[in-house]
C-alpha cells in the first residue's frame, strides 16, 4: 500500500476517534480553554461582560457552533459525540476540497517549466 494511502486511512481513524477530544475533557473536568470563554462565563469570572466583547461576539452565528448542531448545548455525550464526528467529516471534506482547489491552481505542472 502506498504511504499516502496509509496516511489518508490514518486521517479517517482520527476522525472516528475525534470524540475523545470531547469525552476526555468531560470526564476529567477540563473546561473552556483560557481566553475562549463565552460572554456569560467571563461575566462570572470578572463580574462584568466587557461591552466591546458583547458587541462583537454575537455578530457571527456559526452554522455548527462548537462542532455540534444548534441547540445541542445540554445534550448527552453520545449525541454530542455523533455530532462531533459528523462535524469532523463535514470540516475535513470542506478543508480538503478548498485546499485541493488552491493546490491545483497554484501547483506547478510537471514537465511544464515556469517561464
Amino acid at each position: 500500500m502506498k504511504t499516502s494511502t496509509k496516511l489518508w486511512i490514518g486521517l479517517l481513524a482520527l476522525i472516528l476517534l475525534s470524540p475523545l477530544g470531547l469525552i476526555l475533557p468531560a470526564w476529567l473536568g477540563g473546561g473552556t480553554a483560557w481566553g475562549e470563554w463565552s460572554a456569560q462565563e467571563i461575566h462570572k469570572l470578572i463580574g462584568y461582560a466587557p461591552s466591546g466583547m458583547t458587541r462583537l461576539a454575537g455578530r457571527w452565528r456559526a452554522p455548527l457552533p462548537d462542532y455540534a448542531l444548534n441547540g445541542q448545548d445540554g445534550a448527552g455525550l453520545r449525541t454530542l459525540s455523533l455530532s462531533y464526528i459528523m462535524s469532523a467529516v463535514v470540516g475535513v471534506a470542506l478543508v480538503v476540497g478548498i485546499t485541493m482547489l488552491i493546490g491545483r491552481l497554484l501547483a506547478r505542472r510537471e514537465g511544464h517549466h515556469a517561464s
Binding site: 473546561g31 480553554a33 462535524s87 478543508v95 478548498i98
Partner: protein, 235 residues
Amino acid sequence: MHIPDGYLGPQTYGAAYAVMAPVWAVASRIVSRTLRSRQAPMLALGAAFTFVIMMFNVPIPGGSSGHAVGAVLVAVLLGPWAACIAVSVALIVQALLFGDGGVTCIGANCLNMAVIMPFVGYAVYRLFAGRSAATSSRRWLGAAIGGYLGLNAAALAAAFEFGVQPMLAHDAAGHALYAPYSLAVAIPAMMLPHLLIFGFAEATVTGMVVAYLQRTDVTLLHGVPAGASKNEAAV
C-alpha cells in the same frame, strides 16, 4: 488558542489582517513556484490533519483544556509557506462553520498558528537536522522540538495579543472593552499549560509522524528529492 470574536479590539484584529494579507499573497507566490502538482493532495491531507488534530482537546488540571495544532508537521513535510496556506484554510473553516475562533480574529489566529508556529518550528527543525541524512534521528527529534517550540511561540503571540487589550481600550469606569486580563496575567496563564502539557502533545504528534515517514517514505519530507530511495537516503 483560537481567539474568539470580542477578545481583540479593532486596532489589533485589523492590524493582524493587514499583516496577513501580504503574507498570504507571498505564500501563494512561493507555493506556486515550489509545489509540484503531485503534492496538491498532500497539501490537502496536511490541512485536513491540522483541522482534525485541533479537535482533540486535552484536559488539564484547573478546569481548562487545549490541543496540538500540527502546523510544524505540515511545515516539515511541505515547507513553511505551504504550511501557512494549509493551516489558514483549516482555521478559516473552523471560524466560519464551527465558531472555533472569531471571524474578526481570523487574521490574528492565522498569524499565530499559520505563520509564527510553522516558521519557528521549521527553523528549529532545520537547525537540528542540519546536513544529516534524511533518515537520521536528528530529523524526527528536530521536528519534535520544533513542534514544541513552534506551539509555544504561537501561544506567546496569542498571550501578547490578549494581554495588550486592557492597555488599548477601556471605558470611563476602567472596565476593559475586550479581553480583560493584562500581560502579567495572560502570559503565565497561556504559557504554563503550553510549556508543561500541550507543547509535549505537539512534540509527540510531530516527532512520531516524521519518524514513521522516515521509515516508510522519506521523499515525503520537504527538501528530500523525489528520486531518493530509502536506501540512498540512508547513506
